[in-house]
């Protein structure tokens, strides 16, 4: 994709500041106006604009003090009224008088955008507002106040957000930020962006140091006043927000009460850092066009399915709710009918996630979904055999159609098989590999494809086992399948990182679940098999490591993006022992836990 040429013009903003404005596309089409944040300039939008210029009339400008626009007067020149006046001037200069514009804003742009949306003189010119990377300062002020006054848990939320806003305080210190920008920060800036998940950082901008140094006046001129004197902050305009889960500066919880003040709200969740216009231009462009198309269609317009799912309504309860880690996210769990799968579904539901419970057994999947919906938002059950490619394809399609692309997929379904290698039949092998390995491949492949395609990113968790790295003479098929899952996870993690998809592999040891009661023991009579099942189950019961604790680790692996997690003491022990002495593992492998 390449960006077409732009029409450049200069617009005189408030107080005589000269604003550098660019336009792309056909002016007869709906106008989409982009406002950038700090310490960027309008170049940050180029990746998004190249995806939209064919469909819309696109306008972007450098905010005063940034890029090729001239500076405002330091004291008062960066006050929000001035910025709103600039925005009004740009709208008047680029869009026909009878037309409204669709505003898209990031970071400080979002703060200005909100000010414009709440300003009676500009709001009538705005058709819709998509914002991310910063909240409305009025809303943030109310949010902080409600949390500081409520119980200690929500107070912690408030402290967390204040800690994330450390730079705001730093910017109020004289000289500090300008000196930093002048002495190297500008040069390393693209590298810092890479840390934020921008895999292909742009060339360093020639005005970066100046943009950074000047922009601190945005903070100095407005923050304190806004936080101390917040306005009500209500609007009927269509508003769309993109919530970035890994944003180091804005806690997702800050958006949790938005719907109370914004009745026409759509919320999108993105596994991303702060600079989403650079890291996720595909997703941003698609979401902007969906909203613009809907709003432009007017009365008879119908929301497309993805927009309909993003629609957010105010919660009825009054008291401020504590932030939940996985609010608004869709989690798919396979093998969710029992054991680790069920507990994982429940654990995510408790943290606010919508759940899709997949299991071979329809009744138990349904039960898990019921339990999850008791403590979480919504949950649905799908009876599917993970080893059946066609069924899995239908599942992935169905979930995407009905609930959207999942944010997290936990490939947990697995079966046990024990017995000597020579007595393990080809059919036994096929069944174990089909479920334990192919199930994971299908799940990762189908859902990973969706995540990559939509650009929304996500997290894939594969449940392997201690058996993935601890060989055993009695578990050749099981160990082989799980070792493959472990390696698959490592390869996928390296490969999918560029698509914003994280991959974790969980290796539980002896966990008390029903897998021992359903494990096949080959080379045994039926009675012998039952005896073995009872014996091993009793051993696992004695160890008494609950699946709930594994679920907790799975949630943690997602929250902290951990590559490989051995759960249980023995899993950790053998993970270390294998590094120190592979021979010791081989000695363990020769021991047979099964009585012959």
């Amino acid at each position: 994709m390449t960006l077409g040429s732009s029409k450049e013009l200069r617009v005189v903003g408030s107080g005589g500041v000269s604003l550098y404005v660019r336009q792309w596309g056909d002016t007869s089409k709906p106008t989409v106006l982009f406002v950038h944040g700090y310490p960027d300039n309008s170049d940050i939008w180029l990746r998004t604009i190249e995806r939209l210029e064919a469909r819309f009339h696109v306008v972007a400008y450098d905010v005063r003090g940034a890029g090729r626009s001239t500076d405002g007067w330091m004291f008062g020149g960066y006050a929000l009224e001035r910025l709103v006046a600039d925005l009004r001037a740009v709208i008047q200069a680029t869009a026909p008088a009878d037309r409204k514009v669709h505003l898209v804003a990031h970071d400080w742009g979002a703060i200005q955008g909100w000010e414009a949306v709440l300003d009676a003189s500009v709001a009538p010119r705005i058709a819709s507002f998509t914002f991310f990377g910063a909240p409305c300062l009025d809303h943030a002020a109310w949010w902080l106040r409600s949390r500081i006054r409520a119980d200690p848990r929500t107070f912690v939320d408030a402290l967390g957000q204040l800690a994330r806003s450390w730079y705001v305080f730093a910017f109020h210190a004289p000289l500090l930020a300008p000196l930093a920008w002048d002495h190297g920060l500008a040069r390393v800036w693209p590298r810092l962006l890479r840390l934020d998940g921008v895999t292909s950082a742009p060339e360093p901008s020639p005005t970066q140091a100046k943009d950074g140094a000047r922009g601190v006046w945005l903070y100095r001129s407005n923050f304190l006043h806004k936080l101390l004197h917040p306005k009500e902050g209500r609007t009927e305009l269509p508003v769309q927000t993109v919530v970035s889960r890994r944003d180091p500066f804005v806690a997702p919880g800050l958006y949790s009460e938005l719907a109370a003040r914004v009745p026409n709200l759509w919320r999108r969740d993105l596994e991303a850092g702060h600079w989403t216009p650079l890291s996720h231009p595909d997703a941003i462009a698609r979401w902007v066009s969906e909203l613009v198309d809907y709003v432009e269609a007017g009365e008879e317009g119908k929301e497309c399915p993805s927009l309909r799912r993003a629609r957010t309504h105010a919660r009825s309860e009054r008291a401020p709710r504590s932030r939940k880690r996985f609010d608004g996210r869709l989690v798919v769990v396979t093998g969710a009918g029992s054991g680790i799968g069920r507990e994982t579904a429940i654990a995510f539901a408790k943290l606010g996630a919508k759940i899709v419970a997949v299991d071979l057994d329809a009744a138990s999947a349904q039960r898990t979904a019921e339990l999850a919906s008791l403590i979480g938002p919504t949950a649905h059950a799908y009876p599917v055999d993970v080893s059946d490619r066609a069924a899995m394809e239908a599942l992935a399609k169905g979930i995407a159609r009905d609930h959207g692309v999942p944010h997290i997929v936990v490939n947990n379904a697995g079966i046990g098989l024990a017995g000597p290698f020579l007595e393990t039949s080809i059919d036994d092998w096929k069944r174990v590999i089909d479920v334990n390995l192919w199930g994971v491949i299908h799940g990762s492949h189908l859902f990973g494809e969706q995540m990559a395609k939509t650009g929304s990113g996500g997290h894939i968790v594969n449940v392997a086992s201690l058996a993935a790295y601890l060989p055993s003479r009695s578990l050749s098929a099981y160990c082989t399948s799980k070792a493959a899952v472990l390696m698959l996870g490592e390869c996928m993690r390296a490969d999918l990182a560029s698509s914003g998809i994280a991959v974790s592999t969980i290796c539980p040891g002896v966990v008390n679940t029903n897998i021992t009661r359903t494990t096949r023991f080959v080379g045994q009579s039926q009675e012998g098999e039952r005896r073995q099942q009872r014996k091993v189950s009793a051993l696992y019961r004695l160890r008494n490591f609950t699946p709930r604790r594994v679920a907790r680790e799975i949630v943690r692996a997602c929250a902290e993006n951990r590559p490989m997690v051995p759960v249980t003491g023995e899993a950790k022990f053998f993970a270390i022992l294998g590094r120190l002495s592979p021979a010791a593992l081989r000695a363990f492998a020769r021991m047979s836990p099964l009585s012959q």
């Binding site: 029992s338 069920r342 008791l374 403590i375």
Partner: protein, 273 residues
């Protein structure tokens, strides 16, 4: 010593059991936010003593909120009513075991103050356990196997087995008639006269390879022997625990619930209608 199964004796047990249920339902109806477990247990005690209760199998218990699911219970004193205050939407369990003239009952009463979806679901699911247990006792299945079946059913439902937290992990224990004339003293939370009878029963039944404490261990590897058993399945999910407890009559050839329709059964019937 096993209580006699003569109808007059059963009648007396039924009376005490109904008295205990009346106590719980009357006190539950008056519960309001802010009241503590200790206050409620005290009210139950006063109520029962005023109506002729003269000793205890155990003193009345009251658990609120996540204490109904015994979350974080490590030591026995945590079973005793504490300073937890009742809030709207909180589940609660009242458990009392009064004795009148040597005849005892032991009941559990679960409800919640206002609305609680998890409680409603758990309470509805608890209904499955009553016929489930009776059927197996009638089939003379060993008690430890029934305990494990109940455990498996709880697991299948996705809940936690909470009676496993009780002393001895008991799903049930026998109740008897106390005839000793010893002073009525409370030791810990239990009546000394009950402990003495139970102790004697533990020893005599042990000689026959049986146990009055019904759990999943090898000691319970025998069918229920004739007598009265206070059965108390207790299930939990997240921060909500729900139980019922009532007397099961086991005769040489049959088993049946002493009361056809105690509080929880009435509530299930009402929900079904």
């Amino acid at each position: 010593m096993v209580t006699s199964l003569a109808s007059a004796d059963l009648e007396r047990h039924l009376e005490v059991q109904r008295l205990a249920y009346r106590c719980c339902s009357e006190i539950a109806a008056e519960l309001a936010p802010g009241v503590t477990e200790r206050e409620v247990a005290g009210r139950m005690r006063t109520w029962l003593v005023a109506r002729g209760v003269d000793d205890w199998l155990h003193v009345p218990f009251a658990w609120f909120g996540d204490r109904t699911a015994f979350r974080g219970f490590k030591i026995p004193t945590q079973f005793l009513p504490g300073s937890r205050r009742l809030e709207r939407g909180m589940p609660f369990i009242l458990d009392c075991a009064p004795m009148v003239d040597g005849t005892m009952a032991d009941i559990g009463y679960a409800d919640c103050l206002g609305e609680n979806r998890i409680f409603d679901r758990l309470f509805a699911d608890l209904a499955e356990f009553r016929p489930f247990i009776l059927e197996r006792v009638k089939a003379e299945r060993p008690l430890c196997e029934i305990w494990r079946d109940v455990d498996a059913l709880i697991d299948k439902m996705g809940y936690d087995n909470r009676h496993t937290v009780y002393p001895g992990h008991v799903l049930a224990h026998t109740v008897t008639r106390v005839s000793t004339r010893r002073p009525r003293v409370i030791l810990g939370a239990f009546g000394v006269r009950f402990l003495e009878t139970l102790g004697r029963e533990l020893i005599t039944e042990r000689l026959r390879g049986r146990s009055p404490l019904w759990n999943g261990s090898a000691r319970s590897n025998h069918p229920a022997y004739p007598g009265l058993w206070a059965v108390e399945p207790h299930i939990g999910f997240q921060s909500v625990g729900v139980k019922f407890e009532e007397i099961l009559v086991v005769t040489e050839s049959d088993a049946y619930w002493l009361d056809d329709a105690p509080y929880h059964v009435q509530r299930w019937q009402k929900a079904a209608a």
